[in-house]
Symmetry: C2
């Protein structure tokens, strides 16, 4: 166990897709916890699409990472030193530790984990922010009911996989969208989606229509126009579209070519009486307890299936992150920072 703190910092803001030169690796001493703080040694770092937004200084719902700062990110780790009364050395915790091997955090800003040690990384995926995103968006906006049809893209990712399985638990049909035949087969055969279509197929729109013979009642939007476009003509009256991400657009440096199709979307929302609503899961951490009580038993007993894509070594985080933005991961992407 090294006392060195390996860190990955934001070297420059990307134009379009980030490349490795956007990140810089630094090494320093592990930090010292102050009063009320804990020192955490990281086991896993989460890599998530929202981080792309934080690399840019365009207006967003959160402050960007400053040039030279450690990249932000959720982490699970073990408390090595505690100066907080409710946390002890050896506790497993989840916190926003960032892309580094050690961090200090205020005791009130870490969440003590009750998970078995072999499943700690679930706190970054199915039982963490992505799982809560799926659960919250369905509970408050999507609201699938028996016999309805739900479509979600990135179906093998941590949000999509949970969305599909929770929708089925509510009695809805779950139709996934994923990149490539291997992911589609996994979605139907292992995750149990009713269907999964490859968005790279030339006839994707036709396949999607055929897989949704009764139209689409819930489209859980995490991608953007490449999937929303083919979904639009299938939307039923009173369809709901929870919007939690737009990964297809995060690297864009210009808008798609014209004409401006905004009136098409607006007209559809009017005619079909659609509810389209954005949400940022950080606003809703107060419902974490209800989410965990509802979902954790099913994840831990295997009735909800989870797939992780584990990258070894923090130094490989930039490449893994860059790839994730174009779908190269297969399952929830986490970096194993240390054993």
């Amino acid at each position: 166990m090294s006392d060195e703190n390996l860190q990955i910092r934001l070297a420059k803001r990307p134009t379009g897709a980030p490349d490795p030169s956007c990140f810089q690796v630094e090494r320093g001493p592990k930090p010292e916890p102050g009063e009320g703080e804990v020192l955490v040694r990281h086991r896993f770092l989460s890599l998530d699409p929202y981080m792309r937004g934080r690399m840019s200084d365009a207006e967003s719902y959160a402050e960007p990472v400053a040039i030279g700062d450690v990249m932000i990110g959720g982490t699970v780790g073990v408390v090595e030193e505690s100066r907080h009364p409710k946390l002890a050395k050896g506790d497993f915790v989840m916190s926003m530790g960032g892309w580094q091997t050690w961090s200090v955090a205020k005791g009130g800003e870490v969440r003590k984990l009750q998970l078995p040690e072999a499943h700690l990384s679930l706190a970054l995926g199915a039982l963490g922010m992505p799982g809560l995103t799926a659960w919250w968006g369905l509970k408050h906006i999507g609201q699938p009911t028996k016999g309805e049809t739900l479509v979600v893209a990135a179906a093998t990712g941590p949000v999509g996989a949970m969305v599909g399985q929770l929708a089925q638990r509510a009695g809805a049909r779950a139709v996934g969208v994923a990149g490539g035949p291997e992911k589609c087969a996994f979605a139907t055969e292992t995750l149990g989606f009713d269907a999964c279509l490859d968005h790279r197929a030339d006839d994707f729109a036709e396949q999607l229509a055929a897989a949704c013979p009764d139209g689409v009642d819930v489209y859980f939007e995490n991608v953007g126009l490449p999937v929303l476009g083919p979904v639009m003509p299938l939307l039923n009256a009173h369809a709901r579209i929870p919007l939690c991400g737009l990964v297809a657009h995060y690297n864009a440096t210009s808008l798609p070519a014209g004409p401006d199709r905004t009136p098409v979307l607006l007209g559809l929302i009017l005619r079909k009486k659609i509810r389209l609503e954005g949400f940022i899961i950080a606003d809703h951490f107060d419902e974490f307890g209800a989410f965990a009580a509802d979902v954790a038993p099913a994840v831990l007993d295997g009735s909800i299936t989870v797939r992780e894509d584990v990258v070894e070594g923090l130094e490989n985080a930039p490449e893994a992150f860059i790839g994730m933005l174009t779908g190269s991961n297969f399952g929830k992407l986490v970096v194993k920072v240390a054993d």
Copy 2:
């Protein structure tokens, strides 16, 4: 009182803006009520933007008017002959009588009016479908609260005027948008809007921003991109956009020039966690009683101000309707069919 039934029928479907050749005037005998029906002599016909949609055969939420059929429309009139047990000769009723001087309707499809005879036309505006549209959209989607800012276009029209006044009753600031200085002055001086901006002004966007120093919490959408565009940068986190109409786009024969700005709208909805929801008021007539109980006293005692634009004579309906689509009316447009 003529026994002749003057009718205005759809002669052909418009391409772009309708012109007088889209309508044909016919004369025939007044119809005969069947068992369970009433014969109604119309006093007023309502002209509303939604009718433009029914003139086209593009997919919509309702069937189009067939070529050669009488144009649809809400009417108030007097029962001249009743074959329904709950309605009597002399009753004032509201029904979908269409652009004609007489109609028959099933007794269950007319609403008996309790309004004073001098105010019958209110059943087509402030106390009819437009008023219900304003009330329902605010109650279920817009939900303005004390200290918030609401923006609504067509502020002197029947929906906009009611939206602004109901928002103020809820404690919100009401900022209107209208076409021309005369309408803007009426909105602030007579309807009591906190501000009203002329969308024809070159610096409309700047004026709107200045009138909304705390941003926009509710944008009641009845127009489309010409107003939504300038509103977008002003929207606050958790803003709500009830979408009941897109009159600026109804006559469009092509989409606006590129680029495709749909991702801009989607990105804003995500970052600002906006709820954008379409609704068609015909789905919600079951709440008419609650609406009338809430709003009718204030309309009848003048604490909610109503302005009507009354066109004399059914034969002038096409010209008035064509003008309404570009904002030539000033207040709720009704046609006085007969005394």
